[in-house]
Subunit: 94 residues, 2 copies
Protein backbone atom coordinates (compact mmCIF):
# COMPACT_ATOMS: atom_id res chain seq x y z
CA UNK A 1 0.00 0.00 0.00
CA UNK A 2 1.21 3.46 -0.98
CA UNK A 3 0.32 6.60 0.96
CA UNK A 4 0.71 10.08 -0.56
CA UNK A 5 0.78 13.25 1.56
CA UNK A 6 0.57 16.39 -0.62
CA UNK A 7 0.80 19.49 1.57
CA UNK A 8 -0.25 22.81 0.07
CA UNK A 9 0.14 26.35 1.36
CA UNK A 10 -2.82 28.36 0.04
CA UNK A 11 -3.16 32.13 -0.15
CA UNK A 12 -5.65 33.09 2.55
CA UNK A 13 -8.03 34.85 0.15
CA UNK A 14 -8.07 31.87 -2.24
CA UNK A 15 -8.82 29.00 0.18
CA UNK A 16 -12.45 28.61 -0.92
CA UNK A 17 -11.46 28.76 -4.62
CA UNK A 18 -8.86 26.06 -4.02
CA UNK A 19 -11.34 23.83 -2.19
CA UNK A 20 -13.97 24.16 -4.94
CA UNK A 21 -11.49 23.17 -7.64
CA UNK A 22 -9.88 20.41 -5.60
CA UNK A 23 -13.29 18.86 -4.88
CA UNK A 24 -13.54 17.74 -8.54
CA UNK A 25 -10.10 16.13 -8.28
CA UNK A 26 -11.16 14.24 -5.13
CA UNK A 27 -14.41 13.02 -6.69
CA UNK A 28 -12.77 11.76 -9.89
CA UNK A 29 -9.80 10.19 -8.09
CA UNK A 30 -12.01 8.22 -5.70
CA UNK A 31 -13.55 6.48 -8.73
CA UNK A 32 -10.17 5.25 -10.05
CA UNK A 33 -9.09 1.60 -9.87
CA UNK A 34 -6.64 1.10 -7.01
CA UNK A 35 -7.70 4.18 -5.04
CA UNK A 36 -8.29 3.19 -1.40
CA UNK A 37 -8.88 6.70 -0.06
CA UNK A 38 -8.41 10.29 -1.22
CA UNK A 39 -9.34 13.21 1.02
CA UNK A 40 -8.76 16.90 1.73
CA UNK A 41 -7.53 17.86 5.20
CA UNK A 42 -7.16 21.34 6.71
CA UNK A 43 -4.69 22.15 9.50
CA UNK A 44 -6.56 22.97 12.73
CA UNK A 45 -3.95 25.63 13.60
CA UNK A 46 -3.48 27.23 10.17
CA UNK A 47 -6.35 27.13 7.68
CA UNK A 48 -3.95 27.99 4.81
CA UNK A 49 -2.39 24.53 5.10
CA UNK A 50 -4.54 22.10 3.11
CA UNK A 51 -3.24 18.60 2.50
CA UNK A 52 -4.42 15.81 0.25
CA UNK A 53 -3.89 12.43 1.87
CA UNK A 54 -4.26 9.48 -0.49
CA UNK A 55 -3.96 5.70 -0.30
CA UNK A 56 -3.28 3.60 -3.40
CA UNK A 57 -3.06 -0.17 -3.79
CA UNK A 58 0.39 0.04 -5.41
CA UNK A 59 2.76 2.28 -7.41
CA UNK A 60 1.06 1.29 -10.68
CA UNK A 61 -2.27 2.67 -9.45
CA UNK A 62 -0.56 5.91 -8.42
CA UNK A 63 1.13 6.11 -11.84
CA UNK A 64 -2.22 5.67 -13.62
CA UNK A 65 -3.68 8.42 -11.39
CA UNK A 66 -0.91 10.83 -12.35
CA UNK A 67 -1.50 10.06 -16.04
CA UNK A 68 -5.28 10.54 -15.79
CA UNK A 69 -7.11 13.29 -17.64
CA UNK A 70 -8.48 14.84 -14.43
CA UNK A 71 -5.05 14.87 -12.72
CA UNK A 72 -3.29 16.48 -15.70
CA UNK A 73 -6.04 19.06 -16.11
CA UNK A 74 -6.84 19.99 -12.48
CA UNK A 75 -3.48 19.75 -10.65
CA UNK A 76 -1.73 22.45 -12.78
CA UNK A 77 -4.82 24.68 -12.51
CA UNK A 78 -4.46 24.73 -8.70
CA UNK A 79 -1.05 26.46 -8.90
CA UNK A 80 -2.61 29.92 -8.96
CA UNK A 81 -3.95 29.46 -5.40
CA UNK A 82 -0.60 28.66 -3.73
CA UNK A 83 1.28 31.07 -1.47
CA UNK A 84 4.49 29.06 -1.86
CA UNK A 85 5.66 25.69 -3.12
CA UNK A 86 4.14 22.69 -1.35
CA UNK A 87 5.62 19.34 -0.32
CA UNK A 88 4.72 15.96 -1.74
CA UNK A 89 5.83 12.72 -0.12
CA UNK A 90 5.12 9.19 -1.31
CA UNK A 91 5.34 6.59 1.45
CA UNK A 92 5.38 2.87 2.03
CA UNK A 93 4.17 1.55 5.39
CA UNK A 94 6.93 0.04 7.52
CA UNK B 1 -11.94 12.62 13.09
CA UNK B 2 -8.47 14.08 13.59
CA UNK B 3 -5.49 13.13 11.43
CA UNK B 4 -1.90 13.80 12.56
CA UNK B 5 1.06 13.79 10.15
CA UNK B 6 4.39 13.93 12.01
CA UNK B 7 7.26 14.07 9.52
CA UNK B 8 10.75 13.30 10.78
CA UNK B 9 14.14 13.72 9.11
CA UNK B 10 16.41 10.98 10.48
CA UNK B 11 20.20 10.82 10.36
CA UNK B 12 21.02 8.13 7.81
CA UNK B 13 23.11 6.06 10.24
CA UNK B 14 20.37 6.12 12.90
CA UNK B 15 17.32 5.03 10.86
CA UNK B 16 17.24 1.53 12.32
CA UNK B 17 17.67 2.87 15.88
CA UNK B 18 14.81 5.29 15.31
CA UNK B 19 12.54 2.55 13.96
CA UNK B 20 13.27 0.23 16.89
CA UNK B 21 12.41 2.91 19.43
CA UNK B 22 9.38 4.20 17.53
CA UNK B 23 7.95 0.67 17.29
CA UNK B 24 7.19 0.73 21.04
CA UNK B 25 5.38 4.06 20.62
CA UNK B 26 3.26 2.63 17.79
CA UNK B 27 2.38 -0.50 19.75
CA UNK B 28 1.35 1.38 22.90
CA UNK B 29 -0.55 4.11 21.00
CA UNK B 30 -2.62 1.59 19.03
CA UNK B 31 -3.98 0.29 22.35
CA UNK B 32 -5.25 3.72 23.44
CA UNK B 33 -8.95 4.62 23.54
CA UNK B 34 -9.84 6.76 20.53
CA UNK B 35 -6.92 5.63 18.38
CA UNK B 36 -8.23 4.65 14.92
CA UNK B 37 -4.82 4.09 13.30
CA UNK B 38 -1.16 4.83 14.04
CA UNK B 39 1.59 3.80 11.63
CA UNK B 40 5.15 4.45 10.51
CA UNK B 41 5.71 5.37 6.86
CA UNK B 42 9.02 5.73 4.99
CA UNK B 43 9.43 7.94 1.92
CA UNK B 44 10.04 5.81 -1.19
CA UNK B 45 12.47 8.42 -2.56
CA UNK B 46 14.36 9.30 0.63
CA UNK B 47 14.64 6.68 3.39
CA UNK B 48 15.63 9.39 5.89
CA UNK B 49 12.09 10.77 5.82
CA UNK B 50 9.98 8.71 8.24
CA UNK B 51 6.49 9.94 9.07
CA UNK B 52 3.99 8.86 11.69
CA UNK B 53 0.44 9.10 10.35
CA UNK B 54 -2.25 8.84 13.01
CA UNK B 55 -6.04 8.97 13.18
CA UNK B 56 -7.88 9.85 16.39
CA UNK B 57 -11.58 9.95 17.14
CA UNK B 58 -11.39 13.56 18.40
CA UNK B 59 -9.10 16.19 19.94
CA UNK B 60 -9.68 14.78 23.44
CA UNK B 61 -8.27 11.40 22.38
CA UNK B 62 -5.23 13.14 20.89
CA UNK B 63 -4.79 15.16 24.10
CA UNK B 64 -4.90 11.98 26.21
CA UNK B 65 -2.31 10.44 23.87
CA UNK B 66 0.05 13.39 24.32
CA UNK B 67 -0.34 13.12 28.10
CA UNK B 68 0.31 9.35 28.17
CA UNK B 69 3.30 7.82 29.90
CA UNK B 70 4.62 6.22 26.69
CA UNK B 71 4.31 9.48 24.69
CA UNK B 72 6.10 11.58 27.32
CA UNK B 73 8.85 8.97 27.71
CA UNK B 74 9.46 7.86 24.11
CA UNK B 75 8.88 11.03 22.01
CA UNK B 76 11.69 13.08 23.68
CA UNK B 77 14.02 10.06 23.48
CA UNK B 78 13.71 10.07 19.67
CA UNK B 79 15.27 13.54 19.39
CA UNK B 80 18.79 12.13 19.24
CA UNK B 81 18.06 10.45 15.89
CA UNK B 82 16.95 13.58 14.01
CA UNK B 83 19.04 15.32 11.36
CA UNK B 84 16.91 18.47 11.64
CA UNK B 85 13.63 19.61 13.11
CA UNK B 86 10.55 17.81 11.80
CA UNK B 87 7.04 19.04 10.96
CA UNK B 88 3.86 18.16 12.79
CA UNK B 89 0.43 18.97 11.39
CA UNK B 90 -2.94 18.23 12.98
CA UNK B 91 -5.79 18.07 10.47
CA UNK B 92 -9.55 17.90 10.25
CA UNK B 93 -11.12 16.31 7.18
CA UNK B 94 -12.95 18.79 4.95
Amino acid sequence: MIKVVAKHFIEESRINDFLENAAELVEASLKEDGCISYGLYQDVNDSRVVTIIEEWEDMDSLGDHMASEHFKRIVPSLNEFYEKEGEINVYRKI
